[in-house]
């Protein structure tokens, strides 16, 4: 009996191995051919593209003449867009660093084998992509429009010019909120707490040889709230809310589900900010329609 079982088992193993072999192709020619063709097609495509469109060469660099707007290369315009809404150190350095570390950490959090090797193969993956992309896109659009005080313009279009109530001035944009915190009689921050001088004994950069003098630190509380605390709360809080929402309605159950949701949301925000920064920002980095914009050449 034991021998029979062993024979049957080994036959099954051999059968499996044979089935796997039948599923396989030879790399030469089946893969090498595809690689060769795609290399050929892309070479041709880039030659044609390069014949059709010339790369730009503007006037010789002149440090005395700052163009308006001055823009980074397109793949950094997402960061430059963030820069308009928050503290420069946060937008230019901390957010990208944290984002890259978080992306690198994905496989160590989502370490199961589900959904591996096939496009969106876990149940409900498609709707999670759509949910993440939808929330990321429209959430960012709403926030950008709000920070550009577009809701005020809409209000004035309906109720006439200058009709925006002064008591709602804090709700115009992030900058207006900061000014309101800083100067308004109704500001919740007592006047003595708006600037907190910490002196020059905290940041002893002179000891490290970075600066000649230690940095004289004064904490600007309204600035801290508007430029740092609110953006960080939004950037951390909104994704968490989204995940909790998807979990409560039963769409996101596993870690893979949450990662699909979050990564899709991130991609949507990333592409949206890049597009807004590239095509919708004109003079003074104000919002413009692309057709009203001075042409942006990369």
């Amino acid at each position: 009996m034991a021998t029979d079982a062993a024979t049957a088992a080994s036959a099954a193993v051999r059968g499996r191995a044979r089935r796997q072999r039948e599923e396989e192709l030879l790399v030469w020619p089946d893969l090498v051919f595809i690689e060769f063709i795609s290399a050929l097609v892309f070479t041709l495509m880039f030659v044609l593209l390069s014949i059709a469109i010339n790369s730009p060469l503007q006037d010789r660099a002149n440090p005395a003449n700052t163009p308006n707007p001055s823009k980074a290369p397109w793949y950094f315009l997402n960061l430059q867009e963030l820069l308009l809404h928050m503290n420069p150190a946060l937008a230019g350095v901390i957010v990208p660093t944290v984002a890259l570390i978080a992306i690198g950490a994905i496989p160590y959090y989502d370490n199961s084998h589900e959904g591996q090797g096939e496009w969106l193969s876990t149940p409900g993956a498609g709707r999670l992509v759509k949910l993440g992309a939808f929330v990321g896109t429209f959430g960012s659009i709403a926030l950008i429009l709000w920070d550009a005080a577009k809701h005020v313009q809409v209000y004035q279009l309906i109720f006439g010019k200058g009709s925006w109530p002064a008591s709602l001035n804090w709700f115009k944009s992030a900058r207006d909120f900061q000014a309101w915190l800083d100067t308004s009689a109704y500001s919740p921050i007592p006047e003595g707490l708006r600037r907190i001088p910490l002196g020059d004994y905290l940041l002893r950069t002179d000891l490290l040889g970075l600066t000649e003098k230690p940095i004289d630190l004064t904490v600007n509380i309204p600035g801290l709230i508007v430029e740092q605390i609110i953006p960080v709360t939004l950037m951390v809080g909104l994704p968490i809310l989204l995940s909790v929402f998807a979990w409560r309605i039963g769409w996101a159950k596993t870690r893979r589900d949450h990662m699909i949701l979050q990564f899709s949301g991130f991609l949507a925000v990333y592409f949206l900010l890049t597009i807004v920064g590239t095509a919708f920002r004109g003079r003074g980095m104000e919002l413009y329609w692309p057709w009203d914009n001075p042409p942006v050449i990369t």
Partner: protein
Amino acid sequence: MATSERPESRGLGDRIYDLVFHSVLWQSIFRSGYPNTPRNQMLAIATNVFLHLHPTRIHRTHVKITHTFCLGGLSFFLFIGLTITGVLLMFYYVPSVERAYQDLQNIQTNVRFGFLMRNMHRWMAHGMVLMVLLHMMRVFYTGAYKPPREFNWIVGVVLLVLTLLLSFTGYLLPWDELSLWAITVGTNMVGSAPILGPPQQFVLIGGFEVGPAALVRFYTLHVIGFPLLAATFMTVHFWRIRRDGGLARPL
């Protein structure tokens, strides 16, 4: 019948075939014969230094175009294309503030195929950034970062950063208004980091503003520093794909 057992007379085609593919020269280069039998096809992959990054056999689903869209391979292809066009551009380009812009004009107007090479270099550079981003999306949505491939995902993230840096350092080289201000805006972002930002920015552009020192630094990083780093990480990336059993498969 007796006649059928006699070897057929060999035609001209067979003779030429023998002359080429069984010649000492062919054998000395490729070791195996023409890849028209499974054995020779596998040897063609296994005995070739460039092709042996591939396994000799591959699962049927992995050659489906819609599984990978060739995105990783095309990123590498663009890297090679950029190296070739970049080397050609280097013949005519001197990274000095006095000459750079003039050299660019010279490449565009006086060098045969110069404008074409410059265009190809630029569009391929943009293409590579896009391709690497798309490749990352493909890997994510096919769940190909899962164990045992976790670390290769990190190597991929490093390669994405290197791709951006390669493109960014190249952006300054034409020394026109676009490059100067794009790099000024970009490096100001670095400088905005708390405490360590300003010294980092100083090291990066070799001064307090983008000038001759920045041009030499960006050029050196662009043509040798980052390409070497990228090539190193690519080697690790490809080697690990192979060691981890090729593309991810559903369990």
